[in-house]
Amino acid sequence: MTAAAEGRSPQPRRLPPWVRAGWRVGSSIVVTLLGLLGLTFFIGRMLPIDPVIAIVGEQAEQSTYDMVYKQLGLDRPLYVQFGYFIRDMMSGNFGQALFTGNRVIDDLRRVFPATIELATFAICIGVFVGVPVGMLAAVYRGRAIDHVARMVGLIGYSSPTFWLGLMGLVIFYAALGWVGGPGRLDVYFIDVVDLVTGSVLIDSAIAGEWDVFRNAFSHIVLPGSILGFASMAYISRMTRSFMLEQLGQEYVIAARVKGLSKWRVIWRHAFRNILVQLITVIALAYAFLLEGAVLTETVFAWPGFGRYLTAGLLAGDMNAVLACTLIIGLIFVGLNLLSDLLYRLLDPRTR
């Protein structure tokens, strides 16, 4: 029992600490990646949807079917397929997306910028609304603004985003005509601006195509706000609790006693101290936005990653679904790691 409890202590003592830390982090990343691959492969094999029919068509003869079945390597033993799978994934070769006819990697390159644009728009709303609201709620704790912020935040947590999206479309697009409809641009603005950065908003602004910019903005504002609502709820809540912790610290009281103004203390001292924690929270919120994007993009016909995933899922496209699942896993791991690292690097207390 005691041996087990101390199981982690025997480590090569001679290695410098940063090597050991690097080894630990590195090996855990490798194991996690392998696990991700294994899990996605497992899911892929379980998918009941037949990739062959998507290629040959529903009315095809069996001989055609068998030919394509072999071409896809589906007749080989599972472990062989897993070997190929790992090799392919490592080299970024996700295969052909059957439902688009392109290589998955090319598709992803095409759809990802749309999602990044949407998620970035949303996180901006989340940060620029969420942080001030959280601060106010903390400073005026127990007052009306705190309760309102809390209630709004809870509604943000509790709303099915796809439902908010649908209702938003009914009200702001169908009834009021304030915003653009589904999609990223109206049809006659498609192809007007060459995508350089991948963001229609930025590219059209650079090109000076303000009509396109306005149109793009009218399309992104609703899905962006709805996605942003959820992350705002999360960010404001975390800001509030970080801030409350700071406000209870002695230095704040001391500074106030010294005669510094309330907001000066809050911004110059307390806010600075929670900045590191906030950044990690924002990184995590960003990761969760990618999840929210799956349903939001489906509702808004936003040509991004989330809709690509659901379309692939419904079309029975194993390659596309696996690649998406894997990539979203990688991004999650990456952002988690990043927020961890940031925390370690920036926060003096964890050194």
Binding site: L36, L39, L47, I155, S158, P160, M167
Partner: protein, 309 residues
């Protein structure tokens, strides 16, 4: 408070006195007192009370569905389809002329069924993995936590989507898929709790008496973790309901003609412009329920987490 107690009958007053006595005479009294004080604190939080009452109402509605519903969940009338809310159909009718109000009532059973089943699967799994991992440590810990991390490294909905796609649509499979995504945070929590419990003198004393690790985990560690696991799963309940609705929305959850709210919403999406109530009503029901769980969970956390005092 005291006015309340005074207004109540002598029995209640005696109970109140027993529950608030400064010196307790038995362990039962002590733990009941803790609960009672918690309840008193919880009761002061109006939002939490709203959450609790919505949840209680939901349970009552689910139980009394046959009496509350005006129609069966699948009573169709092709010639009364897509009718807006009226006296005959309080929340309107759907694409087959079914009464939406009645379907929502029947559907509350499904929502509760999903939520409870997920909790019943995910909580024990998380508890077992977490406590074992935390108590045994070493390789067991490394392996189990690595697996947990892998599951955690996918967003819940994406993983549930992939699993449901693999298992096939249907309410049972949706429950399994959601449970598969719900246990890892619980395992993490249980492990953290176990790590603190493990080093306590109390466990050390039992260990010296020669109790087996299995016995210690099951008899002594797990019961200590249960309260926080319950709180955690309550807090997660809103997420579970939203994920279930999301699966239903994509057609991967409950199958028709089941009045599951997400599936109703999904159908309503096709009639959005002409008949908004098809999508609006189930969406509101989902929002209300998940909000209730969040309010309740929030209040519960305030009561149990001394830091927020």
């Amino acid at each position: 408070m005291s006015a309340n107690a005074a207004a109540a009958g002598p029995h209640r007053r005696r109970l109140h006195r027993w529950l608030t006595a400064e010196v307790t005479t038995s362990p039962q009294q002590a733990s009941l007192q803790r609960l009672y004080f918690g309840w008193l604190r919880f009761r002061r939080n109006p939002l939490a009370m709203i959450g609790l009452s919505i949840l209680l109402a939901l349970i009552v509605i689910a139980l009394l569905a046959p009496w509350l519903a005006h129609y069966g969940s699948n009573d169709q009338d092709l010639y009364a389809r897509l009718k807006p809310p009226s006296a005959a159909h309080w929340l309107g009718t759907d694409e087959l002329g079914r009464d939406i109000y009645s379907r929502l009532i029947w559907g509350s059973r499904i929502t509760l069924y999903i939520a409870c089943l997920v909790a019943i699967i995910a909580a024990p799994v998380g508890l077992i993995v977490g406590t074992t991992s935390g108590y045994l440590g070493g390789w067991t810990d490394t392996v189990l936590m690595r697996v947990t991390d892998i599951f955690l490294s996918f967003p819940g909905l994406v993983l549930a989507l992939a699993f449901v796609a693999a298992l096939g649509p249907g309410i049972e499979n949706a429950v399994i898929a959601i449970a598969l995504t719900a246990w890892p945070p619980i395992a993490r929590l249980a492990r953290a709790e176990t790590l603190t419990i493990r080093s306590s003198d109390y466990i050390a004393a039992i260990r010296i008496q020669g109790a087996s690790p299995l016995r210690i985990i099951v008899k002594h560690v797990m019961p200590m973790c249960v309260p926080s696991v319950i709180v955690r799963i309550t807090l997660n309940m809103a997420g579970i309901i939203l994920t279930a609705a999301g699966l239903g929305f994509l057609g991967l959850g409950a199958q028709p003609p089941s009045p599951e709210w997400g599936a109703m919403l999904s159908t309503g999406r096709q009639y959005l412009i002409g008949a908004w109530w098809l999508a609006a009503m189930p969406g509101l029901a989902i929002l209300l329920t998940s909000l209730a769980f969040n309010l309740f969970g929030d209040g519960l956390r305030d009561v149990l987490d001394p830091r927020t005092e």
